[in-house]
């Protein structure tokens, strides 16, 4: 029965007794099962989740209600850190490993086991804290948050309570043009370090549950925002910007489907003009930016509706689950559990770990090693004269931004480089399901390509052909031009010869042209281009062609 789950345990026969049978009557357990099962089976390592979309009908509805009511939204985000080992032991963590294969006495909470902090966790926390413009606590500590649950092996979670490592920051967000654009600043209340819990796996027949402790002890950063967001789009953009940040900083893969970035949002609604917050509702099970946006907009509508009907007392403090149905009408939030007063976690300082003391020097070193962050990058791109759409596209993915920066560092024209990357290169990556790191084209060659076209060495049309060759197979622009003899013909004498030949060979058309059918210029140009195998410089060609066609002799 439990044999598959506890496979690793049975390697050490007296290490563990597979006694994780739990009843299913408990409502909490039941809901958790749904969460775990709703995870998609296929996972892309680094699926870019750029676009935040919202159903248009809901947006319209929102516009109507927004006149009388205002939503207040705060987000708690858990970011799983991509350290090599867990927070307090030497176990590696690999998403998708068979249950209980990434465990040791420490993360299993065996008697006598003690936590020892992985120093990378601190470094990552400081990085993100600085990137979120937070004030760092040079002296912070760990605390125990106590509650019983089968996925929590020690009966407490090592977390930070009253002295988080970073607090009081903000994050800059550019709202996409299609949602009205504009710049927003959202407050960050705090960032703190903690450990993840394991997972419960529920048997299909519902008679028992099993515990998988692979994830137990994996380091997390919890980022708590100020209640500064007002609609689903803003919240989703906030989350997207956090994802960008953690990926820029390389502290997490930020993958929402794998649960490496998890958002719990708190939504309340109040009549405009009222200063007191309405009753807040927490929404969980949001595993994409669009579900963040849609769930919030749904919840706002639901709460406003209740206000409208004079039933605001029906809005209770509770945790609701976002259900992603197949049709728009089946996407909704449903009650998961009602809060029965405040739970008492009986926090107290973790006696097994020393205080976390940061020296200013350590912080400065990390500050100086931070990469250019998305916000700074966007402002820089903006100053280069790129459109907001270009800016948002390029800065969205650090690898693309790096590629772009490397291309223009080689002297390429900014706008042209942006166009190539956002156009043909992006389309190629999308079709081939590749990332910018997978393609064979290098920034040097893209720069060379752009220059070759600009300098008239090759035509734009040939440039495009070469590009696909470079993307798929690599090589150099110069090499391909030589190999395929693609250098543009710019010698007027040579082109003149070809023009004369075409004109001479088509007396009938020439007559018609001179009779007033000037549209035939295109026919002649095409013939010359064909003769030159596409290599004739179009400008020179047309200039000479016109001269020839219009000359009276």
């Amino acid at each position: 029965m439990a044999s598959t789950i506890f496979r690793s345990f049975q390697v050490h026969p007296f290490l563990l007794y597979p006694t994780s049978l739990l009843g299913r009557r408990n409502g909490v357990l039941y809901c958790t099962m749904k969460t775990t099962q709703s995870q998609p089976a296929t996972q892309e390592k680094h699926s870019p989740q750029t676009k935040v979309s919202s159903s248009s009908t809901q947006s319209k509805k929102l516009n109507k209600i927004a006149e009388d009511y205002e939503a207040v939204i705060g987000i708690e985000t858990h970011v799983q850190l991509s350290t090599l080992t867990k927070a307090f032991c030497g176990c590696p963590y690999n998403y998708g490993s068979p249950p209980n294969t990434c465990v040791c006495p420490i993360c299993m909470g065996l008697p006598g086991a003690l936590p020892v902090l992985n120093s990378r966790v601190i470094a990552f926390a400081v990085k993100l804290g600085l990137a979120l413009n937070c004030k760092l606590s040079l002296n912070s500590k760990f605390d125990r948050k106590q509650y019983f649950y089968p996925d929590l092996p020690k009966g407490y979670q090592i977390s930070q309570f009253d002295v988080p490592i970073a607090s009081g920051g903000y994050i800059d967000v550019d709202i996409p043009v299609e949602y009205g654009g504009g710049h927003k600043k959202f407050g960050i209340t705090r960032v703190h370090m903690e450990e993840d819990a394991g997972k419960l796996l529920h048997a299909d027949n519902g008679t028992y549950s099993q515990v998988d402790l692979n994830r137990a002890g994996v380091p997390l950063l919890e980022i708590v925002s100020e209640p500064d967001m007002r609609n689903g789009i803003e919240a989703a953009e906030y989350a997207a910007e956090l994802q960008r940040l953690v990926r820029y900083l390389r502290v997490s893969n930020g993958n929402m489907q794998e649960g490496s970035l998890r958002c719990d949002v708190n939504v309340s609604v109040r009549p405009i003009g009222q200063s007191k917050f309405g009753t807040k509702v927490e929404i969980k099970n949001l595993n994409s930016f669009s579900s963040v946006s849609r769930a919030i907009d749904f919840e706002i509508s639901r709460q406003v509706q209740l206000h409208r009907e004079g039933q605001e007392d029906q809005i209770v403090q509770e945790t609701r689950l976002w259900e992603e149905g197949a049709q728009a009408s089946t996407k909704k939030t449903v009650t998961m559990r009602k809060k029965e007063g405040l739970s008492d976690y009986r926090y107290f300082p973790e006696p097994d770990l020393p205080m976390v003391i940061l020296s200013q020097e350590y912080v400065d070193d990390i500050q100086n090693s931070l990469p250019e962050l998305p916000e700074i990058k966007r402002r820089r791109y903006e100053k280069m004269g790129l459109s907001m759409q270009d800016v948002l596209f390029l800065a969205n993915d650090k690898n693309i931004a790096d590629f772009f920066d490397a291309t223009i560092a080689k002297g390429a024209d900014t706008k042209l480089a942006a166009n190539w990357i956002m156009g043909d290169i992006a389309a190629f990556m999308k079709n081939e399901k590749l990332t910018i790191n997978d393609i064979k084209l290098t920034p040097e060659e893209l720069s060379e390509l752009i220059a070759s076209i600009k300098d008239g060495v090759i035509s734009g049309k040939i440039g495009k052909e070469i590009l696909f060759e470079l993307l798929a197979k690599g090589g150099t622009v110069k090499g391909l031009i030589e190999e395929k003899d693609l250098v543009q013909i710019t010698d007027p004498a040579e082109i003149e010869k070809m023009v004369e030949k075409v004109v001479a060979e088509n007396p009938k058309q020439l007559e018609q042209y001179r009779g007033g059918k000037t549209k035939l210029q295109g026919f002649f140009a095409g013939q010359v281009m064909k003769l030159s195998k596409g290599k004739a410089n179009p400008g020179i060609l047309n200039k000479i062609l016109l001269q020839k066609l219009n000359s009276k002799n």
């Binding site: 049978l21 739990l22 009557r25 357990l29 006495p105 006598g112 405040l342 107290f348």
Partner: protein, 553 residues
């Protein structure tokens, strides 16, 4: 000399409880002290047969010399100890588990010695291990029903270090459940008796380890000390008990009771043995973040034979006698024994002054709040989910409730409840936080007293061993018995308890322990002074009547 070198005599006269031992019985409360080193005191390496009044020698060193010189084999030694263990155990019940591989390990030592292979300094040394220290090859229950039959997959660091040096773990010693108790009556499995009078308690919680050393069922033993659990049983059983500085010895593999107070401690029948054992287990451990980087000095030079000492070997040493430890509520016999010990220190050249620690009485309530609070958290992991006893239930809360209700004893439940209360919202500031403030005050007052004195002395307990059952139903009276020791844990300081005299009781008198408290990480000084005190203590031989007939030394 080593008793074990001789064929054990018939123990048919067991129990020997009513046969008076004139040379042991003292109607006065003190031993005679000799201010001058006596010429016949054996050196550590001297194998001359000691007289009945000769001071204790290091069993560890003697074993090594005996084995290497070929005068005895490890197997013979082990057999003799196992024989005595078998004969005394029905009366004492100090072991929860006796290893079945002792002889095999001893034979391995003999094989190595015969083959001229190097053997560690603990080769052939038989070590008792308190049952809350994890051992990979033996059950480890912490004295609790909830871990009945539990076998850890790893050795505690202290155990591992002893084993790595060649030590042989003879078995797991009885204790109060998870260290919560002062008599060993709160073991879930059995009540251990005091070898000096089997109707009395051996103290606790390391009662099994103390009784086992006292009755020579093993040479040395490991215990743990959270509020006096090494020192008080050492006092009750007439053995040497050493509580190291917090952070000196790794707690990895020690089942946590109160993490900020717990230390692994040592028992021996001489100061030298306690010191040599400490040296073996002390030092930084990468599995315990609270261990100190401080070097562990070689204590051996401190255990020089007394014959090499000058007449006032402790000249200039400043001893502070803690006034509050000799006030109301302390047995008169204890007070006179300690005063006599103070006189002896003066004879050795020390200056003895009374010092006052006004915060002394605050230690007990602060200790019980902090220890209970931490234990309520530390014991959360015993939930029946992953290991230990699980009670089947059809819903989660019953699984937790029933497993813990059946697994824990009443004392443990009481402390969990007290600790949970002290950490609860609304009470935290009044209890936990306040107790922490008291802890700071106590730490500072010790620091001040140790600025003016090199060593502080006090009784180890306010009374000698009392009757089994005497305080079982009066927890407050039992808690009050910890008054002498808890302050030292709160301050994290090292303390050495060694027998200094007797009071009337039992058939042969009951031993009284002197507690010496030193500055943090200065165990070396405690051991040096303790050794001189011990070796110059005349006419005192702390061999309990249960084995007196059997063991000349």
């Amino acid at each position: 000399m080593l008793s074990a070198l001789q064929t054990p005599r018939s123990l048919s006269r067991f129990p020997l409880l009513h046969s008076p031992k004139p040379f042991l019985f003292h109607s006065s409360s003190t031993c005679r002290f000799s201010s001058r080193p006596l010429p016949y005191y054996a050196s550590l390496t001297d194998q001359s047969t000691p007289t009945s009044t000769s001071p204790p020698q290091s069993q560890i060193v003697n074993t090594r010399h005996a084995l290497l010189s070929g005068r005895v084999t490890a197997t013979e030694l082990a057999e003799s100890y196992l024989n005595r263990l078998r004969l005394t155990e029905p009366h004492l019940k100090s072991f929860l588990h006796v290893s079945d591989s002792v002889l095999r390990e001893a034979q391995e030592v003999d094989r190595k010695i015969a083959g001229n292979e190097a053997v560690g300094p603990f080769a052939g040394v038989l070590v008792g291990v308190k049952d809350n220290l994890c051992t990979a090859d033996m059950p480890s229950t912490g004295g609790s029903r909830i871990l009945e039959g539990y076998r850890p997959p790893f050795d505690a660091t202290a155990v591992k270090r002893v084993k790595d040096l060649g030590g042989i773990v003879i078995g797991k010693t009885n204790m109060d459940e998870f260290g919560m108790g002062s008599t060993t009556e709160d073991s879930a499995f059995q009540v251990t008796s005091n070898p000096w009078d089997v109707s009395r308690v051996p103290g606790g919680s390391s009662g099994g380890s103390a009784a086992a050393v006292s009755a020579k069922q093993c040479m040395v033993s490991l215990g743990s000390d959270t509020g006096g659990s090494v020192r008080q049983p050492a006092s009750f059983c007439g053995v040497v008990g050493l509580k190291p500085t917090y952070g000196r010895v790794s707690r990895f593999g020690l089942m946590a009771y109160a993490s900020s107070l717990d230390v692994v401690g040592c028992f021996g029948s001489s100061v030298a043995d306690a010191g040599i054992l400490l040296h073996a287990i002390a030092g930084q451990d990468r599995f315990d973040a609270t261990t100190s980087k401080q070097d562990v000095p070689n204590f051996i030079p401190h255990f020089a034979p007394v014959s090499s000492l000058e007449s006032k070997p402790l000249k200039g040493l400043r001893i502070g006698l803690i006034r509050e430890t000799l006030e109301d509520g302390v047995d008169t016999g204890v007070v006179s024994a300690i005063r006599a010990a103070a006189l002896h220190f003066e004879e050795l050249g020390c200056s003895v002054n009374e010092v006052s620690l006004p915060s002394f009485s605050l230690g007990l309530p602060a200790y019980y709040i902090l220890a209970s609070s931490e234990s309520s958290s530390n014991l959360s992991r015993y939930d029946g989910v992953r290991y230990g006893n699980q009670v089947f239930a059809d819903e989660l809360n019953s699984l937790y409730g029933d497993s813990r209700a059946e697994g824990f004893g009443s004392e443990v439940k009481m402390r969990i409840l007290m600790g949970t209360y002290a950490l609860s919202a609304g009470y935290y500031d009044a209890y936990y936080k306040r107790a922490q403030q008291v802890r700071t005050i106590i730490r500072n007052s010790f620091k001040e007293a140790l600025n003016q004195n090199d060593i502080l002395i006090s009784p180890a307990a306010p009374s000698p061993a009392y009757k089994i059952g005497e305080k079982k139903n009066d927890p407050l009276a039992m808690y009050a018995g910890d008054i002498m020791t808890v302050n030292v844990n709160l301050a994290g300081l090292p303390a050495l308890v060694l027998p200094c005299g007797f009071v009337e009781g039992g058939t042969a008198g009951l031993p009284i322990g002197l507690q010496m408290i030193g500055a943090a990480f200065n165990e070396g000084e405690l051991l040096r002074v303790g050794h001189i005190f011990e070796q110059t203590l005349e006419d005192c031989r702390f061999v309990p009547p249960i084995i007196a007939d059997n063991v000349p030394c």
